[in-house]
């Protein structure tokens, strides 16, 4: 769970960086998208490195979801009779919503891949072979932007607890200071990643990116 989670943290950071290329205009964004496919050439074939990364991400996803299912089942079995009255003393909202948040991100991921990668659905009905235009057409629709922002809120919550939890699971938070640093890292990643991702849809809707 922790290791696959760290793979995803690396992925969302680099994905967010790529998205921010949209702020530099159509040419920079599309060049970046093409560059991802030619990276590693001529040693690797066209899209070769991209597929190596994709396979790594798919394996991480299977491991991550698989671990989550095992943990959820164990938790369910460990408390057969629920409490009639339950109060939480000192746990973050994010830590208690990891399962629902994760499910939200998974559903979003399916739509996101259909939208931009597998099928390339242009909800506005425009062209689909130009990554930049597909993105602008999508986020020009206020409800699409809203769906993406909601998904980023779920991602922020997931990262907030997930980062700390991964470090704790890997045994790297053995002192109170290390624990505070791990929690701070969770906050920073949540704000930077979700904030960075949200800039592009918001700027597109506001007309800064067009």
């Amino acid at each position: 769970m922790a290791v696959s989670g760290l793979v995803f943290i690396g992925f969302v950071l680099s994905h967010m960086y790529g998205n921010l290329k949209a702020l530099s205009g159509e040419l920079a964004f599309n060049e970046y998208a093409e560059h991802l496919r030619t990276l590693g050439e001529p040693l690797l074939p066209y899209s070769g490195l991209l597929w190596i990364i994709r396979v790594g991400l798919i394996v991480s996803l299977v491991v991550h979801v698989g671990s989550a299912v095992v943990l959820a089942r164990r938790a369910h079995a460990a408390r057969p009779v629920k409490y009639a009255n339950r109060k939480y003393k000192n746990s973050s909202f994010s830590s208690r919503t990891m399962r629902w948040g994760g499910l939200t991100i998974l559903v979003f991921l399916i739509w996101h891949l259909l939208n931009f990668t597998i099928v390339k659905i242009n909800p506005a009905g425009g062209e689909t072979n130009n990554p930049y235009r597909l993105m602008v057409d999508t986020f020009d629709l206020w409800w699409m932007t809203l769906i993406y922002l909601a998904a980023m809120a779920a991602l922020a919550l997931h990262l907030h607890h997930g980062t700390f939890s991964a470090l704790q699971t890997l045994g790297l938070t053995n002192t109170a200071a290390a624990r505070s640093r791990a929690r701070a890292a969770g906050w920073v990643l949540a704000v930077v990643v979700a904030g960075g991702f949200s800039l592009v849809p918001i700027f597109t809707l506001l007309g800064v990116i067009s």
């Binding site: 095992v70 164990r74 938790a75 079995a77 460990a78 973050s92 704790q168 699971t169 045994g171 290390a178």
Partner: protein, 247 residues
Amino acid sequence: MRLTLKIWRQQNASAPGAMKTYDLDGVSTDMSFLEMLDVLNEQLQSQGEEPVAFDHDCREGICGSCSLMINGQAHGPEVTTTCQLHMRSFKDGDTITVEPWRAAGFPVVKDLVVDRSAFDRIIQAGGFISANTGSAPEANSVPAPRDKAMRAFDVATCIGCGACVASCPNGSASLFMGAKITHLGELPQGQPERYSRVVDMVAQHDAEGFGGCTNIGECAAACPKGIPLDVISQLNRDLRDALRQGR
């Protein structure tokens, strides 16, 4: 004080249980929570009803016998054991729900009493050091660094009450295990069995039906002895080292 108590009543391990409501008058704010239950039981007995069964022993916060989920919190609203919780923490007219620890590893014996021998079996699996009998060795022949000794002492305060399991949304006993593993692992005497200890204790923990830890942190907040969450990190680190050594 006048209180309305909603208490879990269950005849035995196999019988179905239910919450029952009782009115109790004349409760003093100086009573401990258990003394309040004693008063309730006297009232019940005078009415010819069966008293509420609950665990208790030392009543001074050191034995770990008392339990109780009070208004949805393990050992109630204060960070202490139920025997050291006083009725001044409640208000006149309050409704208080009292439930047993809820965990597959802690089956209900009767009413509010649960069987916590799963913890004993986890300790038997690895929560010990092997020492030769005979005369005690010279204490100064085994130096223990002060910071490590202090950490060991701090986490050795775990009384095994089970509040960590009761309050954990996953029903995990990782804080309890982590406390034992940190306590013994920080001291020189605990080194020979350090890595077999963590593997054996975790295996027993899982076999007892406790859940997996997702680092939510309710356990450390509920712990009457203030065992911090970093003992779970220590547990994970020792487990990682043990697995790397192929244990």
